[in-house]
Symmetry: C2
Subunit: 231 residues, 2 copies
Amino acid sequence: MPAFLTLKTAPSTRLPGSLSPARSDTDDDLPALDRLGTVISLRRNGTLFVEGDAARYCFKVLTGAARSCRLFPDGRRHIGDFFLPGDFIGFDAQEQYRFSAEAVTDTTLLRYDRHNVERMLLLRSGLGRRLLDRVYHRLSVAQEQMLLLGRKSASERVASFLLVLSERNGKADRISLPMSRGDIADYLGLTVETVSRVFTHFKTQGTIQLESAAEVIIKDGHALENMAEGV
Amino acid sequence: MPAFLTLKTAPSTRLPGSLSPARSDTDDDLPALDRLGTVISLRRNGTLFVEGDAARYCFKVLTGAARSCRLFPDGRRHIGDFFLPGDFIGFDAQEQYRFSAEAVTDTTLLRYDRHNVERMLLLRSGLGRRLLDRVYHRLSVAQEQMLLLGRKSASERVASFLLVLSERNGKADRISLPMSRGDIADYLGLTVETVSRVFTHFKTQGTIQLESAAEVIIKDGHALENMAEGV
DNA sequence: CGCGTCCTTGAGAGTTGTCAACTCCAGTGG
DNA sequence: CCACTGGAGTTGACAACTCTCAAGGACGCG
């Protein structure tokens, strides 16, 4: 259950070099949203917004990747979600953003004024219903993630993560990781070292192959699936 | 951020002996839903529905408490949410339920036919918007829980849990725990023993007082808050 | 080519889990 | 009324998984 399969729609603009999202869209209302947005671009680690900011905008990723995160006073960090091309960010905000959002790599986004989105919601009744469904989906994704964080071992978490990324890429065997090991760790509730060790463990087992630190090839998807389910 | 402050509305029926939910409702559409429901009652550990069932009904807790849970093949269990009086269950289901739901104690609920709810959603446009907001709220609660499961220590988790329950009871210092230690453990991603140890630790510190295993009195709420935030 | 950042690897510590025994309490039946 | 029983909760000793700290290696960029 991919956290980043959520709130997905086709990017309105296709640029080369982007992860191409799996598309299962039959949308007709959502593209209309795009006309409300303006394109912005951010450098790696650039800030979309900070937790506590007035929630003026929401976004859609066009190319690159973004992450939502929260910080403890003592520096612990948790990443709630990764957003890949086609994903929406911040539609669920109320008055203020409840988390910060940053660019994982150089990233281009569509930025919408929430005020306009609200108006559009009133005009097009189908849009509200469609958003509701998308949020329901996000919720079930979040539940899956809670299961992962609450009850899965380190290996199970990484296996689940790889499978979700693969799924997101149309079940491709070759997946690229735009985010750092540290990002993955903070997303899975682990440390960088543990994530790295699990990767090499999978590599040693022959379950995966590492082209580079950011390029994984899944050699034994079945083994990964068993691992992810705790078999 | 209470997982069980979610999707709350005033119970349509007030029965003695129930936890009285904190009310912050100015709803007008949701009570109309109640007329669609029929009252049912379950014994402790009774089943509302099972993961994978066709999602025919949704529910609202009137008295008692319920839990949503998921199981691993090897017996590990995770509780996604507790539902106290006024909480809705299963509104976010799609075709099938994505988790099982059970009564924590003897419980009475309102059961709605999802088909009727759908129709009502179409008739009353305000209802869809209100549900959307509630689901957004649930989502932010889920994000809070992911933070807890991903990055908090055992003590921090239990402290957060007690505070949420207190909040839910109108910030009362005296809170009752309808669920078992095992339920709490599976909700917080811990074991029964760890939960128990943290309780006695807090008791020894003078942070809380245990009237019985199911009755907690918060003696030092400030200490709990600091602990929950990781200070 | 050198520097910095990220990743990997190792050794040891710590928090939480596991296993097992004991206590407490409620419900039951003599 | 009291002993028995079973489930839930507590406590202890030990193990295990993951974290922490530290060092070394790889890769990209200036």
